[in-house]
């Protein structure tokens, strides 16, 4: 049995014009238009088997949406080929083709036809759609009077009532309130039970892990990883950690320099995710270029949103460093990591006792990730010992 979607060696080149010549005059005057090639996709190949769900993940600009558009037939590949078997419905944007002057009812029919529903099929699904969108009393109003939330709900409602063999979904499940999202997710699960083939583009990595059978991760147009969702998701997390390193700032007068630093896990690893409650050692190697008497080494932790969460220094911890000459290694032993989930960055600094005199500061330079087992709702990790005593 052939796969439902086959993508073979697909590349897509866009020409980026500084100013696109869209008139004859412009075409005639500048015989050679200045265009830069941008490869949104490079040699992408994978297959999706019938009845399975694939998550397409990657950072912004990695080519996910372009790939989805190529599969949907909206864009033509520059090289390679795509074969699809079965009717496709692509949800690239909710309510694409909604027209403000038309009523909700008319827009349902218009939108449904774009998604491949016939008039009869829409007639049959109409009551369900209205009920799903919870917009019963507004269906005869023009949608220009709808709030954006109502538009989204109506777009959803039509979208989840289509009846295709292949469903391409771009990020659209990420909007709407929580109750509505749950409702939509339930619909997606039903599609899966009905044996439909689904391709998701999403940033919601947990969604990929919980509902996809496979995942493909794109990085700058190429497949970076593919396979089991949890493994591919981990690859993406690692990659985004590495990307962030490039943006860290540095400053200081460099009487003392930070030569290198490592975040050592409980088992000696320096790369794997940390589990809550494990220990973590921040090991800093320093070198002085001139003797310094009052050096203080400090570190800070920031979370994903660059919010400061914790900081400590050798001085606060009651350790006065002797006169600094040559090389020296400083270790901060964090006995128990209190975080539950997420990315954190370590800022390292070496400065005088007057913290305004900075010798060397590396801002949010060293990342680590905390991952929990299972689905925990904890905000922090507190090591708990249980004692039971018969009285």
């Amino acid at each position: 049995m052939a796969s439902t979607i086959e993508v073979e060696g697909v590349s897509k080149r866009f020409r980026l014009y500084r100013e696109k010549p869209s008139s004859l005059k412009a075409r005639l005057i500048s015989s050679r238009t200045r265009a830069e090639d941008f490869w949104a996709l490079r040699d992408v190949a994978f297959a999706v088997e019938e009845g399975t769900s694939l998550g397409l993940i990657g950072v912004n600009g990695s080519g996910k949406t372009t790939l989805l558009k190529v599969i949907a037939g909206i864009l033509r590949p520059t090289t390679g080929r795509v074969v699809t078997r079965g009717r496709i419905a692509a949800l690239l944007e909710l309510g694409a083709g909604f027209h403000p002057e038309l009523t909700g009812r008319e827009n349902v029919y218009l939108n449904a036809s774009f998604l491949g529903l016939s008039r009869k099929e829409t007639d049959r699904a109409y009551d369900d759609i209205v009920a799903f969108a919870e917009l019963g009393e507004f269906m005869d109003n023009q949608v220009k009077f709808y709030s954006s939330g109502m538009l989204v709900r109506l777009g959803f409602a039509v979208a989840v009532h289509v009846d295709p063999a292949i469903l391409l979904i771009d990020e659209v499940l990420a909007v709407g309130d929580e109750a509505f999202q749950a409702k939509c997710l339930e619909r997606v699960r039903r599609f899966q039970r009905d044996g439909r083939t689904i391709v998701f583009v999403t940033h919601a990595l947990d969604l990929v892990r919980s509902i996809c059978d496979g995942a493909v991760m794109l990085d700058r147009g190429r497949i970076h990883a593919s396979g089991r969702p949890d493994e591919v998701v981990r690859e993406l997390r690692l990659l985004s950690l590495r990307h962030d390193v490039d943006y860290a700032g540095e400053e200081g007068t460099r009487e003392i320099e930070i030569v290198s630093a490592e975040l050592i896990r409980e088992d000696g690893s320096v790369s794997r995710p940390v589990r809550p409650g494990e220990s973590l050692t921040i090991q800093v190697d320093l070198r002085s270029n001139a003797p310094v008497d009052d050096a203080v080494v400090s570190f800070a932790l920031h979370d994903q949103g660059s919010h400061f969460v914790f900081g400590a220094s050798s001085e606060q911890s009651g350790v006065l460093l002797p006169r600094f000459e040559g090389k020296r290694r400083v270790r901060f032993n964090l006995r128990s990591v209190p975080f539950v989930q997420g990315k954190y960055w370590v800022t390292l600094g070496v400065h005088a006792r007057d913290p305004k005199r900075v010798y060397h500061l590396q801002e949010q330079r060293y990342p680590f990730e905390v991952v929990s087992n299972g689905d925990r709702r904890d905000q922090v990790f507190i090591p708990v010992e249980v004692e039971v005593e018969d009285l």
């Binding site: 558009k69 190529v70 774009f114």
Partner: protein
């Protein structure tokens, strides 16, 4: 269950147009076409008091203006409204379709970038809108003819389906080409307005078509009647066909000289058939162009 017809292969090569397969695909997407026509009609007359009456006002105003002009120029065409409208309605169908059709892909950029459907539907929907107006206007013209006690002739009326078919094929062919080219060169829509103005006056709508035949009879470069050159304008032939079908008589009672082109009905039918054939070939060629370019519309917009 996956049926063979649903297997789609997309490659870097622009696919070759296979007319039958494409027509089948268009038919499968007819719901979109119908909905877009409905939408256009609705939007066009939304929030207007007179609604569809507006589509009838255009010919009425034309009629008023040109009746006056023809009176001032001593045009001497009996039953001038019937003469003018029989050609004008055909012209309106053509000019509205191509003007709106040329913009159709650009105006729906958001759809083109987000939804897959056969792009032909966009210009076709504009033709659909123009057709609705055409049908309304033709009904009014027929009422006018009945009201003024017009003498219908079955022999000439039989030309109408042929003229209509030719007009439709030619309009679709031009719309496909213009809408596809307009995506790349936005000049097209400006050029088009000028072009249509010239085209309108080179087509015997306002003035008596016999007038041109008579004037051009004097010029016979290389022994060739230059009136035939004039008829190379497909719309001139089509309009002559519509006029012969509806206005009917070449020299009506009360006219000092012929109004319509002085040829037999069979001759008009032959010319029309020739233009129809040419239009079909033109359609095939512009459709191929449209089809080839349409794969890149989403990128160009």
């Amino acid at each position: 269950m996956v049926t063979t017809i649903d297997v789609i292969e997309r490659t870097s090569e622009p696919p070759r147009l296979r007319v039958l397969a494409r027509v089948r695909e268009l038919y499968a997407h007819r719901e979109i076409l119908l909905n877009l026509v409905r939408k256009e009609l609705k939007v066009k007359y939304a929030a207007s008091v007179l609604g569809a009456i507006w589509s009838l006002l255009n010919p009425v105003v034309f009629l008023g203006v040109f009746t006056f002009v023809s009176f001032a120029l001593d045009n001497n065409v009996p039953n001038y409204p019937v003469y003018l409208l029989s050609g004008l309605l055909a012209w309106n169908l053509f000019s509205t379709s191509v003007t709106q059709g040329a913009r159709s892909v650009i105006d729906n950029a958001n759809l083109v970038k987000k939804v897959y459907f056969p792009r032909e539907i966009l210009p076709l929907s504009q033709i659909g809108v123009a057709l609705v107006d055409f049908v309304l206007q033709t009904l009014v013209l027929l009422l006018l003819m009945i009201a003024t006690g017009y003498d219908f002739r079955v022999g000439t009326l039989a030309l109408w389906p042929l003229a209509f078919f030719t007009l439709l094929v030619f309009t679709v062919a031009m719309s496909f080409w213009l809408s596809a080219m307009n995506v790349r060169y936005r000049d097209i829509q400006h050029l088009l307005n000028l072009g249509l103005l010239v085209w309108f006056w080179f087509t015997p709508i306002v003035y008596a078509s016999h007038f041109v035949q008579e004037k051009l009879a004097a010029y016979q470069p290389f022994g060739f009647t230059s009136f035939y050159l004039y008829l190379l304008n497909p719309l001139a032939s089509i309009v002559v066909g519509f006029q012969r079908a509806l206005y009917g008589v070449v020299t009506p009672q009360g006219a000092s000289e012929p109004v319509l082109v002085q040829v037999s009905v069979g001759w008009v039918a032959t010319i029309l058939a020739g233009v129809a054939l040419g239009s079909v070939v033109l359609l095939w060629s512009t459709w191929r162009t449209f089809f080839r370019l349409s794969g890149d519309f989403a990128e160009e917009l």
